[in-house]
Amino acid sequence: MQTVDPKDLAAFEADADAWFNENVVRDPGFMLPLTFMEVGTDQQFNFLRDWQNKVYEAGYLGAAWPKEYGGGGLDQAFQNAATRAMRRHHGPIMLNAIGLNWTGPLLLNMGSEEHKKAHLKGILSAEDIWCQGFSEPGNGSDLGNAQTRAVRDGDHYVVNGSKIWTTLGRYAKYMILLARTDPDTPKKYDGLSFFLAPMKIPGVETNPIKKLTGEHGFTQTFFTDARIPATGLMGVEGGGWKVAMRTLEFERGTRGGQAGGYVAVGSNAFEVLDLAKRMTRSGKPVLDDPQVADQMVEFLMEIQALSLNGQRTQVPNLVADHPQGIPLASKLMGTEMSRRLNEFAIRLTGARGAYYVGEEEAVDRGVWARAYLNSFSATIGGGTSQIQANIVGEHVLGLPKS
């Protein structure tokens, strides 16, 4: 731990404030994605890639990663200050989420020196976009059942199979890939290996998947005798499950080390409150309806509780009974809250809730309907809420396995 001079920190935050104030583009002229999972067009991709690079060059991304790998070498407090400034000025999201939030921290935590040197800077600058190859068609949340094969052949592994729900798959240069190197182990988890795999090579194809919103965003990735270098193996052959589980800890935010920034703009309950004031029913603000007011207060309480939960995890005495409870439950609580809040917002728009993006009569360009449909990406992706509830029940409360 470095000691942080509060004056240095305040000056850094003031600089960041000024920088974001000057550099955030308010209206790029097209709809920006609310989360990194919603990047569906080249226009959106190019804009966000440039934006991330600009933030990195200015020193407000990866500020706490080591200097020798392209980071700023500063204390985490500086990155937190930069992220606060980013939020205050409603900056667009950071595009390279899988790189910044799980691959990068994973490499810093258990990668080889070569891996760190080769990949960390490209993650920060958005030159190398990363995607994740965990889920497979038909396997849903059951990661351990991965069937994609990787067979050693000299200096390479030959990969065959398919991965699905590959966020940013069309744009990614690398994939963190969980593949089966031994199909015959008695325990299925022992036959898996973890790779840093190139995407722009022969034998790797991506097909876009049209989402429920009507947009593209994910791909299915097909491997046909794709030859990936053996140097991309993380850990040992057959030890992939451990690496994957560590990755999930970063993905779920239960371990620090993320580069900073943010990758999703949650629908803010205060924006929904504003909507409830703007919308009318029978000539009166819909917020005058006591049921609406009651529900609105509950959302404000809930969003406040989520923020307080985060603060409380910093006080060990107040989480001693369930040290992992809040981090593990946060995914469940936050994503479900967001889904319910967006659905509530659609209801507030009354008859105009029937419209969708593209219709000029749609309230706020249809953002609420789109946000609601997209909110399922978080209640399903990364493990469904039902799986997450099992995890919380079993790991936090000690209930027997389902």
Partner: protein
């Protein structure tokens, strides 16, 4: 955007949380809780004495008047742990009475009473009346100047917790057409002024108080200029401490349910492995964590203008929702046994209802919050 409160945690809170966790676990096993239900007094005087020795009764009393000079934030972890063990005794009541004097009492009243409260004498407050309105300043009871130079009181108070052991009762009244507070020594109450009420939380002792024919000295009137502030302070303090008791109870209730789900076998499986039981239990747990975060934010921000009120009302509303849900499901998930008096789930459910009924339930506080937030 308004400041809705934030978490802060003092070293004193940490120390008290630590001690209270062990003390309440040791002194209030559920067998004791059940034994005291049958006891007329309702609490163990020896344990109450120990609480006094631990300094718990003077935590939020200023040092000049024999207390520790801390704040309600430091009382919160103690009450939370008491609630967790369904512990009884007039600590909440006495703390609120001390708050009434510390905030709105005259110097003479503070000198006369606060050191005695810090030493362990019990006291309580009497705000509710038979119209059962939760508004802090709705008062019908009267105080009138009498011919003998004293104040003649009249009217009825209800849901006066712990009045049976209180040496003083601080009651809200109307005096000269404005809300006021009076300090009533127990000795001033005629026989029969107190009637023990049958309340849903059998671990509590609650009384109806008939003020007709009661008279007190004029010196027993709290500072009239501070009456409005004091009533609001008491309303929020009562809700804060209730939230603390409720959050502790919620935690226990979940633990109690989880223990059962881990041991009870049906259809050849531990019932906790069924998602129909597991998932609502996780919901209860998530609500508990949210309520506890609201509680400690309310404790930390209690004294702040505006923010304190928002944080306290959120804490009480969240605690009501969390405790009610967790205790309700605890009964259901214990099946046939859950329907019996022997199952502890009913103890928690009853206490949750008691707290919701006193000083405002979730719906009441959310309606207040709507006015504060929108």
């Amino acid at each position: 955007m308004q400041d809705l409160g934030r978490i802060g945690f003092s070293e004193d809170q940490a120390a008290l949380l630590d001690v209270a966790t062990d003390f309440c676990l040791q002194r209030s096993p559920v067998s004791t809780v059940r034994r005291l239900i049958e006891d007329e007094l309702g609490h163990d005087p020896a344990v109450w004495k120990e609480m006094g020795e631990l300094g718990w009764l003077g935590i939020a009393i200023p040092e000049d008047f024999g207390g520790s000079g801390l704040s309600l934030a430091e009382v919160v972890p103690v009450v939370e742990q008491m609630g967790r063990r369904l512990m009884t005794g007039p600590l909440i009541s006495a703390t609120l009475a001390a708050q009434a004097l510390a905030v709105g009492g005259t110097e003479a009243q503070k000198l006369a009473v606060l050191p005695r409260l810090a030493e362990g004498l019990a006291a309580t407050i009497a705000l509710a009346e038979p119209d059962f309105d939760w508004e802090a300043d709705t008062v019908a009871c009267q105080a009138q100047d009498a011919a003998d130079g004293k104040l003649a009181l009249s009217g009825q108070k209800v849901l006066v917790a712990d009045a049976g052991v209180a040496q003083w009762i601080i009651a809200s009244v109307r005096y000269q057409d404005a809300p006021a507070l009076v300090l009533i020594p127990a000795a001033a109450l005629p026989a029969g002024a107190l009637r023990r009420e049958t309340v849903i939380d059998e671990t509590r002792r609650s009384f109806a108080l008939n003020l007709d024919g009661v008279s007190v000295s004029k010196q027993d009137l709290l500072d009239p200029a501070l009456a409005g502030t004091t009533l609001m302070h008491l309303h929020l303090a009562a809700n804060l401490l209730a939230a603390a008791d409720m959050v502790g109870g919620t935690q226990s209730c979940i633990d109690y349910t989880v223990d059962y789900l881990k041991t009870r076998v049906q259809f050849g499986k531990l019932i906790g492995s069924y998602q129909a039981l597991k998932h609502p239990t996780v919901d209860a747990y998530c609500k508990y964590e949210q309520a506890r975060s609201h509680l400690y934010a309310a404790a930390h921000c209690f004294g702040e203008q505006g923010t304190g009120e928002i944080a306290v009302r959120m804490a009480k509303a969240a605690a009501d929702a969390a405790y009610s849900f967790a205790a309700d499901r605890a009964i259901q998930f214990h099946g046939g046994f859950g329907f019996t008096y022997d199952c502890d789930a009913q103890l928690y459910r009853r206490r949750a209802i008691w707290h919701a009924a006193n000083y405002g339930d979730a719906g009441f506080h959310k309606a207040k919050l709507a006015r504060l937030l929108f």
